[in-house]
Structure formats: structure tokens, C-alpha cells
């Protein structure tokens, strides 16, 4: 084989692996975005903040000596609980005021957590403790670290769990019913407020998990870290078809890979523009997303 071509191949595989790692993180955050949108049609701008909160809970618990296997569920639980509180205090009262006030409230909540975090924890990035010693495996010129494998593994397990939860449990059925028609679900005796809280909990717990995994992968956490991944996860959710759970996974992976290919083969300064570019193209040409079905507006 031509030597250049070999290098190209190695590069390609490396970028793909990095992209899939990044994409798994996006997918985990996007799942929460999509679930919340599916159930109350709210673009929860603050969703990225639960990812940040999860990362910090992970940071503090690992720094205080907890093992990773405890820190991860703790972070998920903490992020989930905070999301439930936010939903109760802020989103529930605004739900009936229309979509735009709700969207603005979500923006406000997002800003609140970012700046509250900056003021209390400090704006500078913190070094995430190495809970697990990094090992790198080499296949030819292709490298893959155990952290990447952990990210793939955790993401996969969490998704299987979600698939089971939504598709094969009673509460999952109630979630689907609520998202399909809230009023009808209510009439069928489903406590929709509780289901909505539960959806926030699960979605944000996933974001919290993503936060810890990112801390592990990039070794830094900071209060503003939720902004860009949050937006990109939203892009991923829209890309796959917002409200569709497998769509969020697909969207996250596609976005992660696309970004890493562009950064690897072209320029890194346009990294963030890729996500927005994809977003706009999707919105303009297939607004229902890759897995969605276009619906006509009822007159």
C-alpha cells in the first residue's frame, strides 16, 4: 500500500474513534434534550448546565477520595435531583404561558447556573483528578485509551437501560403516553406532573454522567463547560429528529464524527461552526431530522 495512503488510513481511524468518543458524550446529553422536548415541547437551554453540574459533583466526590464507580452514579443522581427542583420551581409555573416565555426562562436558568458556578467555584478550569490510570492500546498507528473504552461502554449501557426503561416498563409507557397526548394521559389517570419530573430526572442524570465522563477524558472542568456541548447536543437532537430517542444517539455520533473529521483534516478554528452549519442545513432541508417524519401544519 502507498505510504501516504496508509497514514491517511491511520489518521482516519483515529479521527473516527475520537469522533465516536465525542459523539457518545453528545448523544448522552442529547438524549435528555430530546426526552424533555418530547414530553413538554421545551427546548431546555439549561440542559447543558446539568452536564456541568454532574461534572462538578464527580470532581468533588473523586477529589474527596471516592472511587469512580460511586462518583458516577452520585453525579447522575445529583444532576437529576437538581433538574427536578428546577423543573418544579421554574418550568412548571411557566409551562402554560406559552413556548417563548418558557424558552426565555430556560435561557435564564442556564445563565444562572453558569454565573452562579463562576461565583461560587471560580471561573478558572479545575484539573479533574485521574480516577482511573490512563492506559493506551496501540494497533499499528491507531491508539485507543481505556478512557475511551469506558466512555463507549458506559454510553452503551446507559442507552440499553433507557431503551428498556422507555420501551418495557410501566413508567416508560406512561412517559410515551404523556408525550403523545398530555391531556389524554391525564384522563387515563397518569399523574403527568410526576412523569414530567421523572423525565427531567432521567434526562439530566444522563447529562450528569456525560459530565463525569468528559472530566475523565479531557481532565478539566469549569462552570462554562456546559454552554457549547449543550448547544451541540441540541444540534444532535435536532439532527436525529427531536423527540426521537434513537435519533439523539444517531445525531450525537454523526456530529461528533463530523467535527473530528473537519478538525483533523482541515482547520480547528472552524470546529464550532460545523455544528451550527449542520444544524442550519438540517433545519432548512429536513426539519424533522434524520429519523423524523415531516408533518404538515394543521390549518
Amino acid at each position: 500500500m502507498d505510504e501516504n495512503l496508509t497514514f491517511f488510513f491511520y489518521d482516519l481511524v483515529t479521527y473516527l474513534l475520537n469522533g465516536l468518543t465525542q459523539g457518545s458524550i453528545y448523544a448522552l446529553i442529547a438524549l435528555g434534550y430530546t426526552m424533555v422536548y418530547g414530553i413538554i415541547k421545551l427546548i431546555n437551554f439549561a440542559h447543558g448546565e446539568f452536564y456541568m453540574i454532574g461534572a462538578f459533583i464527580g470532581y468533588f466526590s473523586i477529589t474527596s477520595g471516592m472511587p469512580f464507580l460511586i462518583a458516577l452514579p452520585l453525579a447522575m443522581f445529583g444532576a437529576g435531583i437538581i433538574a427536578v427542583i428546577v423543573e418544579k420551581i421554574v418550568y412548571r409555573p411557566i409551562r402554560h404561558a406559552g413556548r417563548i416565555p418558557a424558552l426565555i426562562t430556560a435561557l435564564g436558568t442556564s445563565l444562572f447556573f453558569q454565573y452562579f458556578g463562576q461565583q461560587t467555584i471560580g471561573a478558572d478550569p479545575k484539573a479533574f483528578p485521574q480516577a482511573i490510570a490512563v492506559k493506551t492500546y496501540q494497533f499499528g498507528e491507531i491508539y485507543i485509551s481505556n478512557i475511551q473504552l469506558i466512555i463507549f461502554g458506559s454510553t452503551f449501557l446507559l442507552m440499553v437501560f433507557l431503551w428498556w426503561l422507555v420501551g418495557h416498563t410501566k413508567i416508560g409507557k406512561a412517559m410515551r403516553a404523556t408525550s403523545f397526548d398530555k391531556n389524554a394521559a391525564e384522563l387515563m389517570g397518569i399523574n403527568t406532573d410526576r412523569i414530567i419530573s421523572f423525565t427531567f430526572f432521567v434526562g439530566s442524570a444522563f447529562a450528569g454522567a456525560a459530565g463525569v465522563l468528559v472530566g475523565l477524558y479531557y481532565n478539566t472542568v469549569e462552570p462554562m463547560m456546559g454552554l457549547i456541548p449543550g448547544l451541540k447536543a441540541f444540534v444532535a437532537a435536532v439532527l436525529g429528529g427531536i423527540g426521537i430517542i434513537p435519533g439523539a444517539v444517531l445525531g450525537g455520533l454523526v456530529l461528533g464524527v463530523a467535527e473530528n473529521l473537519v478538525v483533523g483534516f482541515w482547520v480547528s478554528t472552524y470546529r464550532d461552526a460545523i455544528a451550527f452549519g449542520i444544524l442550519i442545513i438540517i433545519l432548512l432541508f429536513k426539519p424533522a431530522g434524520l429519523l423524523g417524519v415531516n408533518r404538515k401544519e394543521k390549518v
Binding site: 424558552l103 426565555i104 444540534v235 478554528t269 472552524y270 461552526a273 452549519g277 442550519i280 432548512l284
Partner: protein, 295 residues
């Protein structure tokens, strides 16, 4: 004293931004989150115009020309973004405009000729409070006159019920685009005034955060109300300065206070302080009826 004049001047620039965004968001009902992008286009175009061209004309002429150039540049950007995006509705439009706003910023960041991420320096200080408020008057007269005619009514009808408007023979896409382009153009003027006030601009000064703050101004005042935009712009420009009087701590926490203010405002009054109403001097004095009957 100079400091107060500076603040007044800054307030004026934000009034222009708020009123122009209000035309898009409040009056036409098209939820845009990309206003900082148009502001940036105007600021960079205006600054590039005076710095690179350096026309041998008096300063104020140069400023005025740069305002015109920025208006056109930002309006063109508005047209390019508006035509594809304005088919989208509600929060989807918000997200698409947010995306474009960020793309504009990233593109500027990658343009070395205007300083890239380091920012654009040595812009002549051509703007003063007089010129800024001249533009404040221009945009307020422009928008309020617009609203008193058929074109303005057509723009409002889109906010009220787009399907009904279309059924009444109003080519809604045209008027949405019109509102978007005019709004973007005036944001461009605010940009050039800002560049020639600060003497320095950088891509970090036009982040998505600023789109949110301008949005906050018009929501605070009441979506759709010009008076509200003016008041909202002044309050939010001066608030951080005002918070300074309460010492270092409060000033540092101002963004937290902002966000809490935004949330509580939405919870208490989703329609803003003024709702859709205008403060009308004539009405206030009790002779409003006459005015209304003639309009």
C-alpha cells in the same frame, strides 16, 4: 462627567439595538436569537470602512457614511439569513438564528485582516452622544411611522396569526423578511456607532450572550412596545453600573442577578413591563382620543 456621557451614549446604542430587535421579535413575532451577529457585521464593516478607506472627509461625514455602509452590510446579512430561516417557526427559528449569529462570529474570528481573535484596534473615536441620539430618533420615528401605515400593520398581523394574515392576501414571507432586514440593518448602525465609541472591538464582544441581553431588554420592557424597548435598554445598560454602588460583591454577582431577574420577570409578567402598550404623551395628558380618531 465624561463617564456619565459615555453611559448615556452606550444606552443610546443599546436603544437602537433593542428597538431594532423589537421590530423582529416583538412586532413581527419572529423569534430571533442572532442579533449580536448583525451588530458584529455592522461594527466590523463600519470600522473597516473608516480605518481601511480613511476617506479625506470630516469625521462626522465619515461616521455617517460608515453608518450607511454598515446598515447595508448588516441588512444584506439579514437578507441572506432571513430568506432561508424565516420559513421556520418559533423555537426552531430561534435556534437557526442563534446558529447563524455564532457562525458570523466564528468567521470574523478567522479573518486576520480585522484582527481575528485579537480584535480590531485603533478605530477612530468618531461617534459622540449627539450622533448616537440622532440615530436613536431616526429609528424610533422610522419604526413608529411604519406601524401607523399598512406595511406596519401587515408586519403586526404576522405576529397575531400568520395563517390568517396569509389568507387575507398578505404575502407574509415578504413582510417577515422586510422586518428582519430592517432590524438587522439598524443593528448594523448600532454596531458602527459602538465601534467608533469604544475604539476597539473583538469577536468575544458579540457572543450569543449579547443576543440574550438585547432580548432581555425588549422582554423587560414588553415585547412589541417601542417605549418598552427604550426603557429596557436604558435599565439594562445602567443596571451593572448601578450595581457597582453596592460594592464589589454585588457587581461581581451581576450576571447571577440578571438571570434571576429574567426568570422572575417571566414568572411574574410573561408580557414584560409595558406589555404591548406604548407610552403616549397625548394620551397621558387626556387628549389621546382625538389623535386616535384621526389616524
Amino acid at each position: 462627567m465624561d463617564y456619565f456621557i459615555y453611559l448615556a451614549q452606550l444606552s443610546g446604542i443599546f436603544i437602537i439595538l433593542a428597538v431594532s430587535l423589537n421590530l423582529i421579535n416583538g412586532i413581527c413575532g419572529q423569534f430571533s436569537l442572532g442579533h449580536a451577529g448583525f451588530w458584529a457585521v455592522g461594527a466590523y464593516t463600519g470600522a473597516a470602512f473608516t480605518v481601511f478607506l480613511d476617506l479625506p472627509v470630516p469625521g462626522f461625514v465619515n461616521l455617517f457614511l460608515s453608518c450607511g455602509v454598515s446598515f447595508i452590510a448588516a441588512a444584506l446579512a439579514g437578507l441572506l439569513i432571513g430568506v432561508p430561516c424565516l420559513r421556520l417557526r418559533g423555537d426552531y427559528l430561534a435556534i437557526a438564528t442563534l446558529g447563524f449569529g455564532e457562525i458570523i462570529r466564528i468567521v470574523i474570528m478567522n479573518m486576520d485582516s480585522v484582527g481575528g481573535p485579537r480584535g480590531f484596534t485603533d478605530i477612530p473615536k468618531l461617534a459622540n452622544i449627539g450622533w448616537v441620539y440622532l440615530w436613536v430618533v431616526i429609528i424610533i420615528v422610522f419604526v413608529s411611522n411604519l406601524l401607523r401605515g399598512s406595511h406596519g400593520r401587515a408586519i403586526i398581523s404576522i405576529r397575531e396569526d400568520e395563517i390568517a394574515a396569509e389568507s387575507m392576501g398578505i404575502y407574509t414571507f415578504k413582510y417577515k423578511t422586510l422586518a428582519f432586514v430592517i432590524g438587522a440593518g439598524f443593528a448594523g448602525v448600532a454596531g458602527t456607532l459602538y465601534a467608533h465609541t469604544q475604539e476597539f472591538i473583538s469577536p468575544m464582544g458579540f457572543t450569543f450572550m449579547w443576543s440574550v441581553i438585547i432580548l432581555l431588554m425588549i422582554i423587560l420592557g414588553g415585547l412589541g412596545s417601542i417605549t418598552g424597548s427604550v426603557v429596557g435598554a436604558i435599565i439594562l445598560t445602567l443596571l451593572p453600573e448601578f450595581l457597582r454602588f453596592f460594592g464589589q460583591t454585588v457587581s461581581e454577582w451581576r450576571m447571577v442577578i440578571y438571570s434571576l431577574l429574567l426568570i422572575s420577570l417571566m414568572l411574574a409578567r410573561p408580557g414584560g413591563i409595558f406589555g404591548k402598550h406604548e407610552f403616549n404623551v397625548l394620551k397621558f395628558l387626556g387628549i389621546g382620543k382625538k389623535e386616535e380618531a384621526n389616524s
